[in-house]
Symmetry: C2
Subunit: 253 residues, 2 copies
DNA sequence: CGCTGCTTTGAACAACTTCAACTTCTGTGG
DNA sequence: CCACAGAAGTTGAAGTTGTTCAAAGCAGCG
């Protein structure tokens, strides 16, 4: 299913190639030489922006491509049998989407834009065969998948062991760090997701999240105004997030 | 990329090779032709059995290999700063271990045998380069990683949204299914992990798990005697596991 | 046997949820 | 541009689920 029918394309499109993309270091191109990058560029389809609420894919859609976020934000969520939503992740620029679908051949969760969002679509069969040719690409693909596993494991820890307070603190710090990696401020940012999404993601009730925001603000840890967040005491937040319990059922020989 | 160099190989080795391994279908060799399988066999090191409690690797160890379980069982767990243990998974025969370490270059969790356990060690750099030559191997490696992401996401749902009852039911059914895939009985099996490990893994207190086992038995769903489990009503368990809540904050357009 | 560690059971307690009411925000149409 | 309706967010009070603490029952092993 090679598609070779792109002809006249405006120059702005060309400009937006991987080679000049500011997310290179985070995304698939990382560690790939210039000439190979051109080959990758050939298979990447830069899509027109999705507007807020639009779906990238839905549960049950056949798996054909993975997607990289270029700008905006995407949430992924599973829908249970009862029509009940579970948010599995938020994806900022440079992050890949859809890697969980490889094994089943169809998407097991849905992905939708939280904001106006631009994506790159990378047809998976082409990516796979290119990865077979470009050593660095294979490597980076494996690395990114490994990273996702790693992050899921951290989330598992969060959901399995952390208190509500620790969860929200961890979440905010994670966002802060990711924004900072993207070159934005680590101290202030706008949440692209609703309280509901946050609560759902963190395994909490909306009310709890709301109360925690209020509490954090009262304690002078941060300032919150609707979706705007400004961290005042990231250090203190980090302490909260760390989780100094008093737990004792530690490792055993 | 054809590799055509298989010659005389000692027979005892061949016996224990991937080619004759009963786990072929679940493990890395899946979907690989016989001649390529021989190449894979060359890099797989079949290790002598680990005794119960022995470590496969520990947090902080440099990442050099991934491991496949051949027999026995392994648990992976992270240790937090406070020396506090968090069980991230149980691994039965045919399952791969250590894929989360690729990105960091060192292990971020520890793995230890729950029983006498045999493993195959696969040096990752060799696996990676072989995957670049054998299309099917690359494919299976990606599939297995995707599967792990997928499974972690299910676990996320479990920890984020399910009640204690649902968690234990889900856990038991998962074990049942995995044993059944291995050719063992789906209806009765012996747990290789302690109540503590189960509780830890499921994000519950040991006491809760213990009470649930008692309750399930009282309800006639199963029979439990120390680590022996016999499922009587897998159907009913499945209902419990499914999670018919009454939740209402469903998806939104 | 008699530890020692694992498991079970009971009762009090805490964290978070649920329910309910109210406020604030957003965006649409007059 | 304002008013209004619906959505999103906040706050309080009551209710649950699961935790924590405490103690006793078992199982395996030197």
């Amino acid at each position: 299913m090679g598609n070779e029918k792109r002809q006249i394309i405006d120059l702005s499109q060309v400009k937006a190639a991987c080679q000049s993309c500011s997310l290179q270091e985070l995304c698939l191109p990382y560690g790939i030489g210039p000439e190979d990058l051109a080959a990758l560029d050939q298979i990447v389809k830069r899509k027109r922006p999705l507007s807020r609420g639009a779906h990238v894919y839905r549960t049950g859609d056949p798996f054909r491509s993975v997607y990289a976020v270029r700008s905006g934000a995407v949430k992924t969520y599973a829908v249970t049998d009862e029509g009940y939503e579970h948010v599995t992740g938020f994806h900022l620029p440079g992050e890949l989407l859809g890697l969980d679908a490889i094994i089943r051949g169809e998407h097991t969760c849905s992905a939708r834009a939280l904001d106006t969002t631009s994506l790159c679509e990378i047809p998976f069969d082409q990516l796979e065969s290119l990865a077979g040719q470009i050593r660095g690409l294979q490597r980076q693909l494996l690395r990114l998948m490994s990273q996702e596993i790693q992050q899921d494991e951290e989330l598992l820890l969060l959901l399995g062991k952390k208190t509500a307070e620790e969860r929200l603190a961890t979440f905010l710090l994670s966002l802060s760090k990711r924004y900072s990696n993207l070159g934005y401020s680590a101290m202030e940012f706008n949440l692209s997701m609703s309280r509901n999404d946050i609560a759902n993601y963190l395994g909490l009730a909306v009310e709890t999240v709301s109360r925690l925001f209020t509490r954090f603000q009262d304690q002078g840890l941060l300032e919150v105004q609707n979706r705007y967040i400004r961290l005042h005491e990231p250090r203190a937040l980090r302490l909260l997030a760390g989780g100094q319990h008093g737990s004792d059922d530690a490792a055993r020989a």
